[in-house]
């Protein structure tokens, strides 16, 4: 929605790239746009065409449960907010006729045309939609259009397509109606989807009592796809919670899984919740067959429970297949056109994911999201920002300025002179409500000097009417009664601002979305409601105050704290875009965990870490960033756009910057004596093993190893400590075991769930098994036992899968230690910058999906493991994302400050500090105005305008601008004021 409205984004939908030429910085891309037969510039999204359309087509989106018309809007929030004609269903295209029928029809027409010269062959067979449309938006003469776009960089974000489960016959998808895919279930669960949020069985539309999720359909070795789709585990768990919460009729949800891959931040806690609230039963296994039992119309699933070691027969009403993400059909063709490569599966290939998660093999072309292989949403969003940051380098240096010359402001002083514009919205409003009665009612309200109506207030003529009204009646308040302010307030505000009319003196009254559209059965009451809403809006308008948008200066430079891989990446990105960047590293060398001798080779490429690091550092140095090692940041004051950081160490100075990126990394957990660590000489951590590789490989008492055991989840997934997953340890252990196995060492890995989710990791896992590495699944709640007196001799554990105790010799025991928030840095920066820390101890991002690198403190961004455990590829992607977000801020020399924020009246404030306590954004602060007298002051660059402090203040000293007490109370009063005409 935001993208659709952004002045610098052109959204071309229904289109396809057909050719690409040129070079980085100057590509020429040919785009073919299929006609939608609805003119976007005219359509007002009223939906009359849909009502008029007699033809029902298929609906790929709603699995045939809900029929779709031949003219439709793909889903309620679609961008553009316009309808589209499906040529395969529309009567006017005759595409649904067989070729033979069409031939015949055409022959008849030709004959008629020959006999009667006035006979037209181009008439529309149907045309109901054309006559229903009040704004002449439907145009069957539209032709496919080709346009050439000149662009500096290209970003491929074509996503994935659902694996076709029909190809796996055991599941019966396509044959058994009550076997659906996870995507189809998602449509049902969507509140604005096909069944409005309820799960039903497609066969009889009844609520299923028992539901079974089957995981990894077409993934992890099935259907020729070895990789893991990453998002399905969490998706199934989330859906099970949703279903159990919303549909009490659903009695049981079972999830058939192989490994529970809850690898993301907070994911494990979520799974635990599902387990403890019993919203789902977790069963390990894959179904052998799914059979329909006609006697009671249920599905019978045969499965081997691989943990309880018994065959099970489960009877359910609905089976949901968690289908894998497959490459998009067109991806290979698109890649060929763009001159980039695809991988063995047909996903877009990256040049080197360890170096950059978003660069393709061709310079200037980037990729983000599931186009490179399945991704979870937070990672996709981070990659998208990262790709944007990298792409910015290829765009022209010219940046966007805030706005052109604003017109001279109108004189809006004096008592309210309110003008009211009531919109018909075609028949959307006027079809139910008596608009002229509303106009009369408005005209009778105090302060109203003009009231008129308009067919479409948001159309260009409507906007002209508004402008005329303002000028003619010297209005100083405007009320528009039409649709929702959430979509249309920006449009009317813009029109008014162009007149020099303060946009905050506009009030919108929602008589469409929240009245005429939802009270069709109660016309009298709807009219009464509309009148009341109108009175309320007019009353509020009388109390509106003009607000001036503030501007705060931006120091156009950035500070990156931490010189590990994430800090290096973020600093490089920003410096390459031309922003002055200072990178501060506390130690004497760059590289953090990648520096020798901490990390030997990277997975899955098996490249030496130092080599990758050297390339990164080289690029950083070339970028022109200022690199300060042996330096610490000891204090930061200020706020977005103008921070002052105190640096101490090799360089001591006060550094002014506009944005700050935190990238000081994480700590590794201390095994704290677990598994004999510290007592038994040959029990080491995964990090120790990396170090040993630098010294020619691990040895025991000078001799080469014969056996090694790896214990996973040490200090992770621990209900008493860090309950999350550390993400990097499974692939790291597999990488290490594989390296040793290749040298002839017998390796055993004790794991809980094998979470080899990163790209190439699942393949590495298979390879390790092929190389003879033994994998032992540790039952939940129990632990592997390390046996030995002074040194570890053997490791013992029951293998949950074999239901047998396994005991293996171990010359070496390697503990895969998890990650921890780095201390004392995290606590220190929490104090200095007031960044919220999550329950897991790591910094909390603003929103996991919408704002994964932002913090609640504007101007401060998170890169790498400060936000939570990550591997190198993900850290690098997130660092680029942080740089992208910072560059948006630094692109201007001023930030706009929304004036609709809170202000404190110093005369009434008693300095109690409660507002300071409750505000998550640290906008209010206490200030000593004279000795002993403290009052709160709200910093407008930090305030987000929620108004909570205004309600909370015990002295009533805070005003929430634009939602003042008087404005709200005026609405309440007007609501109950008795209606005049």
């Amino acid at each position: 929605m935001d993208a659709g409205r952004h002045p610098l984004i052109d959204v071309v939908t229904n289109a396809q790239v057909v050719a690409c030429s040129g070079e980085p910085g100057a590509f020429r891309v040919r785009v073919r746009k299929r006609p939608r037969y609805v003119r976007e510039d005219r359509c007002v999204a009223c939906g009359l065409c849909v009502e008029a359309c007699p033809q029902v087509g298929g609906n790929e989106f709603d699995m045939g449960i809900k029929a779709r018309k031949a003219i439709y809007r793909p889903f309620p929030q679609s961008v553009p907010a316009t309808y589209v004609v499906d040529p395969d269903a529309c009567l006017n295209f005759l595409n649904f006729l067989t070729p033979k029928q069409r031939d015949r029809l055409e022959r008849i027409r030709a004959i008629k045309a020959r006999k009667d010269p006035a006979y037209r062959t181009d008439f529309l067979v149907c045309g109901h939609c054309v006559s229903a449309c009040e704004v002449q938006a439907i145009d069957f003469d539209m032709q496919p259009e080709e346009t050439d776009l000149e662009v500096g960089a290209i970003l491929v974000a074509t996503g994935f397509q659902e694996f076709d489960a029909r190809s796996l016959r055991t599941y019966g998808y396509g044959r058994l109606p009550n076997v659906v895919t996870s995507l189809e279930l998602e449509r049902m669960l969507n509140a604005s989807g096909v069944t409005q949020g309820h799960v039903v069985r497609p066969s009889d539309l009844r609520t299923p009592r028992r539901i079974l999720f089957v995981q990894c359909v077409g993934a992890r070795g099935e259907g020729g796809r070895p990789y893991c789709s990453r998002f399905c585990c969490m998706n199934a768990v989330k859906d099970s919670l949703l279903i159990r919460q919303h549909d009490p009729a659903v009695e049981e949800v079972t999830i058939l899984y192989t490994d529970m891959r809850a690898f993301g931040k907070g994911f494990d806690d979520f799974v635990e919740r599902a387990r403890s609230e019993e919203s789902a039963i977790f069963l390990r296994g894959r179904p052998a067959t799914i059979r329909h039992d006609p006697t009671d119309d249920t599905l019978e699933v045969f499965v081997e429970d691989t943990l309880a070691h018994e065959p099970r027969r489960i009877r359910v009403d609905l089976v949901v297949l968690s289908v894998a993400a497959a490459p998009n059909e067109g991806a290979v063709e698109l890649a060929r056109m763009l001159g980039i490569e695809t991988d063995a599966y047909g996903f877009i290939a990256r040049r080197d994911p360890a170096v950059s998660a978003v660069e393709t093999c061709r310079e200037g072309i980037f990729v983000a999201g599931s186009a490179v292989g399945p991704q979870v949403i937070p990672d996709s969003v981070a990659q998208a920002s990262a790709a944007a940051a990298r792409a910015a380098r290829f765009l022209s240096a010219e940046r966007v300025t805030l706005d052109p010359e604003p017109p001279p402001p109108l004189d809006l002083s004096g008592p309210p002179r309110i003008g009211v514009l009531v919109c018909h919205c075609g028949i959307n409003i006027a079809g139910l409500l008596d608009v002229s009665n509303l106009v009369d009612h408005a005209a009778a309200q105090p302060g109203v000097v003009a009231a008129v109506d308009d067919a479409f207030a948001c159309s260009s003529t409507g906007q002209e009417t508004l402008a005329r009204l303002v000028a003619e009646h010297r209005l100083n308040r405007v009320v528009v009664a039409a649709c929702t302010p959430r979509t249309h307030e920006p449009i009317f505000r813009e029109t008014l601002a162009r007149l020099g009319f303060n946009p905050y003196l506009l009030e919108m009254v929602n008589i469409r979305d929240q009245c005429s559209w939802v009270h069709a059965h109660h016309p009298t009451e709807a009219q009464e409601k509309a009148r009341a809403l109108l009175r309320m809006g007019i009353a509020r308008a009388g109390h509106l105050e003009p607000l001036e948008e503030g501007r705060a200066p931006v120091t156009r430079s950035a500070l990156v704290i931490g010189g590990g891989i994430a800090g290096i990446q973020a600093a490089t990105d920003l410096a390459e875009q031309g922003f002055p960047v200072t990178l501060v590293e506390r130690s004497s060398e760059l590289g953090g965990r990648l520096a020798a001798p901490r990390l030997w080779h990277l997975y899955p490429t098996d490249r030496p870490a130092v080599e990758v690091l050297a390339r990164k550092v080289e690029r950083l140095r070339a970028s022109g960033a200022r690199i300060l090692t042996d330096t610490e940041v000891t204090g930061i004051v200020g706020c977005v756009g103008s921070f002052q950081a105190t640096l101490q160490g090799a360089v001591t100075e006060i550094l002014p910057v506009g944005a700050i990126i935190l990238a000081f990394g994480a700590d590794l957990a201390d095994p704290a004596g677990a598994y004999g660590h510290g007592r038994l000489s040959n029990v080491i951590t995964s990090e120790d093993l990396e170090r040993a590789f630098f010294e020619g490989g691990p040895r025991v008492e000078g001799k080469p190893l014969r056996s090694a055991a790896f214990v996973l989840c040490v200090g992770s997934r621990d209900p008493e400590g860090f309950s999350g997953c550390s993400r990097y340890c499974c692939p790291t252990a597999v990488k290490q075991a594989l390296a040793l196995a290749r040298q002839g060492v017998d390796c055993t890995v004790f794991y809980r769930d094998m979470r080899t989710v990163s790209s190439g990791a699942e393949e590495m896992y298979r390879e390790a098994r092929g190389a003879g590495v033994l994998f032992v699944r540790v039952p939940s709640g129990s632990h592997a036992q390390v046996l030995g007196e002074t040194r570890a001799e053997r490791v013992r554990c029951r293998d949950e899968l074999l239901d047998r105790v396994i005991e293996v010799p171990a010359d070496l025991v390697v503990l895969s230690v998890g990650m921890r928030a780095r201390q004392p840095e995290t606590a220190r920066f929490h104090d200095i910058l007031k960044i919220t820390v999550g329950l897991d101890g790591f910094f909390l991002e603003r929103h996991p999906e919408l704002a994964p690198v932002e913090t609640a403190v504007e101007g401060v961004f998170l890169a790498g493991t400060v936000q939570g455990p990550k591997d190198i590829v993900d850290s690098v992607a997130q660092a680029s994302a942080a740089a992208a977000k910072a560059s948006v801020l630094l692109a201007h020399d001023q930030v706009r400050l929304d004036p609709a924020v809170s202000v404190v009246d110093p005369d009434r404030c008693r300095g109690c500090g409660q507002c300071v306590e409750i505000c998550q954004f640290h906008a209010p602060a206490l200030k000593e105005i004279e000795p002993g007298t403290w009052v709160a002051e709200v910093n407008p660059s930090l305030c987000k305008g929620c108004g909570t402090c205004a309600s909370w203040c015990p002295s009533g000293a805070i005003t929430a601008r634009h939602f003042t007490n008087r404005q709200v109370e005026a609405m309440v009063d007007a609501l109950f004021a008795e209606a005049s005409p």
């Binding site: 309620p76 969507n190 509140a191 604005s192 409005q196 949020g197 929702t484 302010p485 959430r486 929602n510 469409r512 979305d513 929240q514 009245c515 559209w517 939802v518 009270h519 069709a520 059965h521 109660h522 009451e525 709807a526 009464e528 409601k529 009341a532 809403l533 309320m536 919220t836 609640a856 609709a900 409750i918 998550q920 954004f921 987000k944 305008g945 929620c946 108004g947 909570t948 205004a950 309600s951 909370w952 929430a960 939602f963 007490n965 709200v968 109370e969 609405m971 309440v972 009063d973 609501l975 109950f976």
Partner: protein, 142 residues
């Protein structure tokens, strides 16, 4: 007390801009019909809905007041709705003193996608308040 024949309750809904107000819009876009006896007042966050607003509504003649915001954890401003809960409790303490039945005042979390739920909450609340009849305060106000 029983409501007079053909009597309709007067209900005020306070809703946050990002979730509940948006949820009502979603009901509109999906044309989910519901009872028309409520009037909506939009604020940016449910944390803005202070006792004074609700009490004024009752004082002026409301038979029921619905306070609504984003689900806990989803507040656009992180924790505004948790403050809203506390405000709501303060309000409730006063409405009890005023002798209003608890059911005349309700708190609901409704997300932007939950158009159907919005409609359902409105219908149920309307029926509940209808069953209670005119507010004792409203009769004085009129």
């Amino acid at each position: 007390m029983s409501a007079p024949e053909g009597w309709n309750p007067r209900i005020v809904v306070f809703a946050c801009n990002w979730c509940s107000y948006a949820g009502a819009d979603t009901a509109g876009v999906s044309r989910i019909q519901h009872q028309p006896h409520f009037r909506m007042i939009r604020v940016m966050c449910s944390g803005r809905i202070q006792p004074g607003f609700v009490l004024r509504a009752f004082e002026k003649g409301a038979d029921g007041v619905l306070v609504s915001g984003c689900h806990i954890g989803d507040c656009h401003y992180l924790f505004g709705n948790e403050r809203a809960v506390e405000q709501f409790e303060k309000t409730r303490a006063v409405t009890r003193i005023l002798g209003l039945e608890d059911e005349r005042l309700r708190l609901e979390w409704i997300s932007a996608a939950e158009g159907a739920r919005f409609a359902q909450v409105i219908d149920q609340f309307t029926e509940r308040v209808r069953a209670l009849g005119p507010s004792p305060l409203a009769r004085e106000a009129r």
